[in-house]
Symmetry: C2
């Protein structure tokens, strides 16, 4: 312990905040002191938000997005097609993709990616649920939108294999140079991939 | 709102974390998602820590440090003298000073400093309690250890005036060049102050 305040409710609150990723002991200390500057009721509401989170959080039965009901707003939207399912690692990726306004299909939110180092196998991340859903709803395309890491590639490959016997197009989002990036500062893997995956120039004219 | 997840317990938790200083909306989102990866019970404990904080936090009756009882461990320590009271802005400063192992008196924790801009006047920060305590316990010295800001200076001066009629030495901690700092990179105010407050060289030999 880096400080010497002998108050167990105080230290417990510091400890809990410091358990969050990116929040060190000193920051947690500061944050708890900041909370103590507020009204008692506000601090109670702060705590209650997390009690409610633990007790009331719901996930969509279909895509596993966080939801207020058993079907999330994306899955129940009449303007979104069931023909395309975009597979993502977590809810932050749903938010990121939604912001692009380039996707009007449904999502499937895995709870992470296959990572043997962390003991996360294919059975831990709702791949089974994806296969079941595909067998039931018969989408035409599955877009894999996972990280470009070893783990992401492994997860891509595993799901691809699982879907291979079905009549479905499996695609992955394009890897290449970011818009606005300069070629000389792009790492060689990305640059190499963007050369390999080059597309006819006329196809870009419509964008 | 920067995201579109329609779950009120989720959004409430994000909002509460984002209300903490230095934690933006996106970070709060990440942190809540990280919490959701934990067991339900752990998230409940997280929330309970803050409920307990709001309900059970206690302050020392004498110095206003956070405490487990009505007298904090520093005030009840038999090895600490009552002759010196060090006045600080908040509990972080108590921790910082305690780490130096250079102070064995008592503290008085103001709840901030005088700041007309933020509507904080002398009556809001336990100065009255300090004066009362001084009149009761008759310390020999008051060390002012406040920020070197306009507000800190104003608070120093206000307290100094309030104590002027008593037979007490009021000191402030030394301002000057930090240990290890280079003169050429020191700002002119600090350097000027360290010249004004120069001390006989032989006094430093004992340190």
């Amino acid at each position: 312990m880096m400080h010497q305040i002998s108050s167990s409710p105080f230290n417990k609150a510091v400890e809990k905040l410091a358990s969050l990723p990116g929040i060190g002991n000193k920051t947690a200390l500061r944050l708890v002191l900041q909370l103590l500057n507020r009204d008692q009721q506000e601090v109670e509401e702060f705590g209650n938000a997390f009690i409610n989170l633990s007790q009331q959080i719901q996930y969509c039965d279909s895509c596993y997005n966080i939801s207020d009901s058993s079907t999330c707003s994306l899955c129940s939207s009449p303007t979104r097609t069931n023909d395309i399912i975009c597979v993502v690692e977590n809810i932050l990726d749903v938010i990121a993709i939604e912001k692009t306004n380039q996707f009007s299909g449904k999502f499937h939110v895995l709870s992470g990616i296959i990572s043997p180092m962390e003991g996360i196998g294919p059975n831990d991340i709702r791949i089974h649920e994806l296969i079941e859903r595909v067998n039931k709803t018969h989408p035409k395309e599955i877009i894999m939108a996972l990280s470009t890491t070893m783990e992401g590639d492994a997860t891509n490959f595993y799901i691809y294999k699982k879907l291979a016997h079905l009549n479905i197009i499996v695609t992955t989002i394009a890897r290449g140079i970011g818009i606005g990036d300069e070629i000389e500062y792009t790492d060689e893997l990305t640059l190499g991939r963007s050369l390999l995956n080059r597309i006819p120039f006329k196809n870009t004219l419509a964008l």
